[in-house]
């Protein structure tokens, strides 16, 4: 990583960190925290889906694991919330590794991989919904006890800064992946697995590392969700809505880019809020917008918003316009 790599991240961090000093409305802060939690989980998806080209339709499996591990450890075993956070990340990475091991070893790719991840998430949801250990259909309520040691804060801004710190850490991690040998191998596997193998890349190991990292990061976002809202149930933690959100944000923002998931999450939820303002009484209006934006993004902006901006910039500089970045996810 060079200084040039870090400057955009540093600028963004400072600007975002100053935001709570300007914005005091708890409604807006709430929105920002939720948006950042989604962005964090989407960053996790992006490591596997964006850089690795393995489209998961079931990242809820990791999000929910993070949320449930942190809640259950505190409620049933009295484990400290911060320790719970670390263990939640470890659990997410472990679940990721196991799902990855099972599916990559069977050479599932493309649509098949999407389907199997979807099925794993559903199995987790059904079990969490039925087992008494996970609170069953009633869900789990984390006891309100506002102390920093419990990862609960009086001031929403503090939680905002905490989530922001994690988002920035993952931005750095992603930037590192992008510049590292591991990242290069991962992209090689995405572009052409057979060619990568022929060049001596151990595709299975690379993909397993990616899904474990991805699972860990997404579990972190699930854990933060549980700590912020202090309530989870199977349909929240393992529901398909979160799988879809985590996939939408990077696709809209710019798949396989460092900032894509954050840009995408901000855009989607921004648009969702605007739609609710205009047509608040219509249920599901924000989701109609999400779906429509997804179709439009795939049709007209393959590189997402960041891809569009890049093309505009190139055109502005009078450079030869390039076509949309060709990313092949074919894998039958």
């Amino acid at each position: 990583m060079t200084a040039r790599d870090l400057i955009p991240i540093a600028v963004l961090t400072v600007l975002a960190a100053l935001l709570p000093l300007v914005v005091t409305s708890s409604l807006v802060l709430n929105f920002l925290v939720f948006m950042l939690i989604v962005a964090l989980g989407a960053q996790g998806w992006n490591i596997l889906g964006g850089f690795g080209g393995q489209f998961s339709f079931g990242h809820a499996a990791f999000f929910g694991t993070g949320a449930y591990v942190t809640a259950i450890l505190q409620l049933r075993y009295g484990v400290n919330a911060w320790a719970g956070l670390v263990l939640a990340v470890a659990a997410g990475a472990a679940v990721g590794w196991v799902i990855g091991f099972l599916s990559f070893r069977s050479r599932l790719r493309g649509s098949y991989f999407a389907l199997v991840t979807l099925a794993f998430a559903e199995v987790f949801r059904i079990i969490a919904n039925a087992a008494s250990f996970t609170g069953g259909a009633a869900g789990l309520l984390i006891k309100l006890d506002v102390r920093a040691a419990n990862l609960q804060f009086d001031d929403r801004a503090v939680f905002y800064w905490l989530v922001l710190a994690f988002v920035v850490s993952v931005l750095l991690l992603t930037r590192w992946i992008q510049r590292s040998r591991f990242g290069a191998q991962l992209v090689a596997v995405r572009e052409n697995e057979d060619a990568a193998k022929a060049l001596g890349v151990n595709a299975l190991t690379v993909k397993l590392r990616a899904i474990a990292l991805s699972g860990g990061v997404t579990a972190l976002s699930g854990c933060l969700y549980a700590q912020y809202f202090l309530y989870i149930d199977a349909n929240i933690a393992y529901g398909s809505w979160i799988s879809v959100e985590l996939l939408l944000a990077p696709i809209i923002g710019g798949v396989g880019t460092v900032f894509g998931p954050v840009v995408g999450a901000l855009t989607l939820h921004g648009l969702g809020e605007v739609a609710k303002q205009f047509a608040g009484r219509i249920p599901g209006i924000d989701l109609i917008v999400f779906g429509g934006v997804l179709v439009l993004a795939v049709a007209f902006a393959r590189g997402g918003i960041l891809g569009l901006l890049e093309r505009l910039r190139d055109r502005g500089r009078g450079m030869v316009t390039r076509g949309p970045k060709e990313v092949s996810h074919a894998g039958r």
Partner: protein
């Protein structure tokens, strides 16, 4: 312990539910076999068809079975239009894109239905909804028996269309070799859209068969689509007999799991089979090629 009669009855009931699963899966597997895409919007399209049946009953007083007749061409046109004017152009022929476009479509369709019909669960009642037929000591639900019969007939018809008509020949040609089919003058985008339309028409039949005994709400499609994926994967992607047998089998598994494990865990058997088949034999039981 359960008496053999209860188990047999559960298995037969499952078989009849499975027939409707098979119909849903038939559309999915046909689309997969020809376009090589997984249609994530299948569930949402089924929900659309189910609401259409409900509307025909609630507003026009039309019998759900009778509603199938106008609904089949309507759904065909809808599917044709979606593939021709939305999915095809938007996805630039890339698999990953098609997954995303159909996912986006399903989100839009589901939430438009939510906006129009709210999240209430609706049912319709006919005088035969709870009618039973006695088969020896076993009592079988009359509408479900109809479902089984119609599903078998529709599978047969679809097989005839694919194997005995020119359109069917073109569809099979495109499925085998897109480029070659194009060279001999087959309009590939048209065939794609016809296939998609046929898949949606299957949903119209499934919706009509489901509604007398089932309910509808905007989210109902999701429950069916995962089952349909399982059926398709189990039967082999693109195989019509595979979809029929897979559907019947999954119906029995679900019914028996529900009997032994209780309703909340009943569906887990389906997903475990799904994962196991994907991991061990992703070509399915009847799939010819990977």
């Amino acid at each position: 312990m359960y008496s053999p009669q209860i188990i047999l009855e559960a298995a037969l009931n499952g078989l009849m539910t499975g027939a409707v699963y098979a119909l849903i899966a038939l559309g999915l597997t046909l689309i997969y076999g020809v376009l090589h895409i997984i249609n994530f919007a299948h569930g949402a399209l089924l929900t659309c068809a189910m609401f259409a049946v409900w509307v025909a009953w609630a507003w026009l007083g039309m019998d759900p079975y009778l509603a199938i007749l106008p609904l089949v061409p309507l759904m065909f046109v809808l599917g044709y239009g979606l593939q021709r004017f939305v999915i095809g152009p938007a996805s630039h022929g890339d698999d990953g894109n098609i997954l995303l476009v159909t996912l986006g479509l399903s989100i839009v369709l589901e939430n438009v239905l939510l906006a129009v019909f709210q999240s209430d669960t609706r049912t319709l009642d006919t005088d035969y909804s709870f009618q039973v037929v006695a088969l020896g000591p076993l009592l079988l639900s009359y509408p479900r028996l109809i479902g089984l019969g119609v599903a078998v007939v529709v599978t047969g018809l679809l097989w005839l269309v694919l194997n005995r008509t020119d359109t069917g020949k073109a569809i099979r040609a495109v499925a085998k070799e897109k480029l070659g089919a194009n060279l001999v003058g087959i309009d590939v985008p048209h065939v794609y859209a016809v296939t998609f339309g046929l898949g949606c028409a299957c949903l119209a039949v499934a919706a009509g068969l489901l509604m007398p005994t089932f309910y509808v709400n905007p989210r109902i499609g999701g429950a069916f689509v995962l089952v349909a994926f399982t059926v398709v994967v189990l039967g082999g992607m693109g195989s019509l007999p595979g979809a029929l047998l897979g559907g019947l089998f999954i119906g029995v598994v679900e019914s028996l799991c529900g009997l032994f494990l209780g309703d909340s865990l009943g569906q887990i058997g389906i997903f475990l089979i799904f994962i196991a088949v994907l991991l061990v034999r992703p070509t399915g039981l009847f799939g010819a090629k990977a």
